[in-house]
């Protein structure tokens, strides 16, 4: 989780990722951020997030995103 | 209860204001272009005419029912309108027959040249004045150009919606009343502009009249036959638009085949006494008062002698009605002479 938060903080130092629940709905993460994020996660966690996984529910909060990563790790 | 009241009141406001707006926005045809008012005027007259004229400007500017009455005791009415197409003439005749059956109908065959409506504005000026009946519906359907919509005739506000920026005082003044602008359908003009050089007609690719035009002439002939009305075909003595000899041949052949009288006023200038230097107000297109009265005299003699139309000058009630009309007719004459700075002798 901490590793993920670090990746996020590096992109937007001014956002409180631990508590923000509407990263997508409030337009904090745009499509460019998401693509970079997927690349970073791919390197940091050894999982592949595909286009099918990119839905607001998975990206709206750091928690949700971490849950997605864990699920993908499980399946891999 | 309160809710129902609210809805009813709102509906009334909507319908009422739309109706008023529609009345306000429709052209009134009381000054300037007055031809659009002619068709509606008929309904306000007492309908016991012996002769009905149908056709375009070549009837409503060339014959004066006032003269026909004054000099021959003939009670006639002109159901004419600007560029009246032949299907419109037919339906106006059918419309007239809803109220009365004249003894003779005079039709000017100039409109045979058109087999379809040419301009929406003319459709409007002819059709809008008609009272609603199945005949009007048929007339509209027969006249509409592709870009026109039937609904625009039912709710003219849709057609005239943008006129709000051109409204004048007379649009408000004549929202609910009208003023007579014709004399039994006759459009009076007293001014003179002599016909000078008359342009030759341009050669046409095809001189034969269209099927649709013939169809309505046939229908008119049949309708008159069925009702026992004498149909008289005429060609008014307008020098322009050019009347082609090829057209003349077709009409003559048709009249002969159907055994109908046909008078071409272009050929009988000597008998009518038309003088193109004094009897037209626009260089030979239309007759002025002087020309129209001359033609009316010829037509009056013809109607009495050949068509057996009765002289009703002895009917007191009718004469009384005409007396009022003649007074207005004379007043208009004087007003126009004054306006154009002329005297009656000119």
């Amino acid at each position: 989780m901490e590793e993920l938060l670090n990746i996020l903080r590096e992109m937007h130092p001014d956002v409180d990722f631990e508590n923000e629940e509407h990263l997508i709905d409030n337009g904090i993460l745009d499509s460019m951020d998401i693509v970079s994020l997927i690349t970073e996660i791919g390197e940091g966690f050894d999982v592949t997030i595909t286009a099918a996984d990119i839905i607001p529910a998975n990206f709206n909060s750091a928690k949700a995103l971490y849950a997605l990563i864990q699920r993908l790790e499980d399946e891999a | 209860m309160r809710r129902a009241m609210k809805i009813i009141l709102s509906a009334l406001i909507v319908l009422g204001s739309l109706f008023l707006l529609q009345r306000l926005l429709m052209p009134k045809y009381v000054d300037g272009v007055i031809e659009g008012a002619f068709i509606a005027e008929y309904y306000r007259d007492v309908k016991d005419h012996d002769v009905i004229f149908v056709g375009d400007c070549e009837v409503y500017e060339n014959f004066s029912p006032a003269v026909l009455w004054q000099e021959y005791g003939i009670n006639s009415y002109i159901r004419g309108s600007a560029e009246q197409y032949i299907w419109q003439s037919y339906y106006l005749l059918e419309d007239t027959l809803r109220y009365e059956t004249p003894k003779a109908v005079v039709f000017n065959i100039q409109s045979l040249q058109f087999s379809e409506s040419q301009r929406e504005a003319y459709n409007r000026m002819t059709l809008e004045g008609m009272e609603w009946s199945p005949v009007k519906v048929k007339a509209i359907l027969a006249s509409m150009k592709p870009e026109e919509r039937f609904l625009d005739y039912v709710f003219p506000i849709l057609r005239y919606h943008s006129r709000w920026s051109e409204l004048t005082a007379s649009d408000a003044a004549y929202m609910f009343k009208t003023k007579p602008v014709s004399f039994n359908g006759y459009y009076m003009r007293v001014d003179v502009r002599a016909a000078e050089s008359v342009p030759e007609g341009k050669p046409l690719a095809d001189y034969s009249f269209g099927d649709n035009a013939w169809k309505y002439l046939d229908m008119m002939v049949e309708l008159c036959e069925e009702k026992g009305i004498a149909l008289i075909l005429i060609k008014a003595p307008s020098l322009y638009p050019y009347w082609y000899p090829q057209w003349e041949e077709q009409v003559e052949a048709y009249a002969a085949e159907k055994n109908l009288p046909y008078i071409n006023f272009l050929d009988i200038q000597e008998e009518t006494g038309i003088d193109y230097t004094t009897d037209t107000y626009d260089g030979g297109l239309h007759m002025n008062l002087s020309g129209a009265e001359k033609l009316s005299r010829y037509m009056g003699r013809y109607l009495l002698d050949e068509a057996g139309i009765p002289n009703r000058s002895g009917e007191a009630e009718l004469a009384g009605r005409w007396e009022k009309k003649l007074a207005a007719y004379e007043a208009e004459k004087r007003a126009q002479y004054e306006y154009y700075g002329m005297t009656e002798e000119d």
């Binding site: 998401i34 970079s36 690349t39 286009a51 | 031809e35 560029e83 919606h161």
Partner: protein, 529 residues
Amino acid sequence: MLFTSYEFLGFLAALFLLYYVLPKRCQWILLLAGSYGFYFAARPAFLLYILATTVTTWFAACRIGDNLTRQRAYLKEHTAELDREAKKAYKKGEEGIRRRWMAVCLLVNLGILAVVKYTNFAISNVNGLLSLFGGEELPLANLILPLGISFYTFQAVGYLIDVYRGTVPAERNLPRFALFISFFPQLIQGPISRYGDLSRTLYKPHDFDGRQVCFGLQRMLWGYFKKLVVADRVLAAVVTIVGEPDVYQGAYILAGMVFYTLQLYADFTGGIDMTIGIAQVLGITVQENFIRPYFSKSLKEYWRRWHVSMSSWFRDYLFYPVSTSKVMQKVTRLAKARLGEKAGRRLPVYLSMFVVWFATGVWHGASWNFIVWGLANWVVLMVSEELEPLYAKFHQRYAVRGKRWYRLFQVGRLFLLVCILNLFDCYPSLSLTFGAFASIFTAGNWQVLWDGSLLALGLSALDYGILAAGVALMLLVSLSQRSGSVREKIAKRPYALRFALWYGLFLIVLLMGIYGVGYDASQFIYNQF
């Protein structure tokens, strides 16, 4: 049947009435019949195209859905006996089957779209090449673009991919699916609805809800206002300016691109207002397609707020798949190694954006000016992304961010930028577009903006007055909308005020709308009968 025709209004009135009179379970069937009737009225032959897309997509999606169900059942049943590797292998095999169904279906449907939309574009490009070598020109194909094909094809493709991704279940009922593809209010100009969104309300039985019906009608009326009073009015000036590129140069182009941007906005958002309003009368929720786009401060923001259903379609079904693809990940690794960490991260994003904007341009129209328009958007977005550090420095030094005048400056800047980009829409050839744009700086005819020349473009002073009032009203509504639905705010007012407001708007549309044969006084000049 245009939205503004009497026929359409009659059709709507009959449909609304039947919709709430018929038994509720028949409502969606009525909509299907109405939609096919609407499409049939446009041109009966078009039905073949939409049927082909409907049936193929439905069939492929069912196969994919079946496969997913089977896979789940199989895994559940054999969960004990299969180890992780075996499960993975099984899943991979099944996914291959699903992928093949999707690929074939995409090929068929995008193929149909490509053939009808781009054949002539391809031929004319081949002809261009041939003429270089003095070859003979090929004749253009005689194809008529079926109504709304770009929109319904994209809607079908989006659905198919959603089913493939498992985001929505496959619709088994062919007539129901046919309604999703053909739903008439959005058939001609979108929005491109997602199955997951639209299906929530499309098939449900709907009770008559007076408030919703009123809101729907009000939304429609607002759409008619934008379309008939504003868009169709300013159209005359746009047509005049664009129609004679030799005559109208310089300051005229400046005026023309503002006029065109206004026309496009009023026409498109007005049309969508009608669509959403009609759906609302029927109790159906269609997603918003515009979120006050001209309040945006950057092009990036603009594309999140303008034609949302299209830009999000491209994002979800093209941008993400391309940018997260294996190829792109390889590119990322390579770029990071060669160009360094930061540039390496941006390069694949820019490449994916290039693909998206190229496709967006092609989708808008089969000609080079649209492709260049798309790529121009791409360039602007890329450049502003690259300039981001510079902006950051600027904002660090000068505390202007958040100041009202600075926001207004940003909004004005964005508006001008979109106006310039829209120029590509206006002229059929690129050389005309560039020539027109250059003339703004070279012609030096600024006086035409105030010496009365603008009155000779087909708009009278009164028309300009109405347009200005229309723009002011649209602006007012947008400003008010920021704090919630304008219709709801009005609904809270006393009845008399509400009534006056909405009936007033109706009268404005009725009297000031550009429609019908039109009263042309010059037609009545007495000369030739």
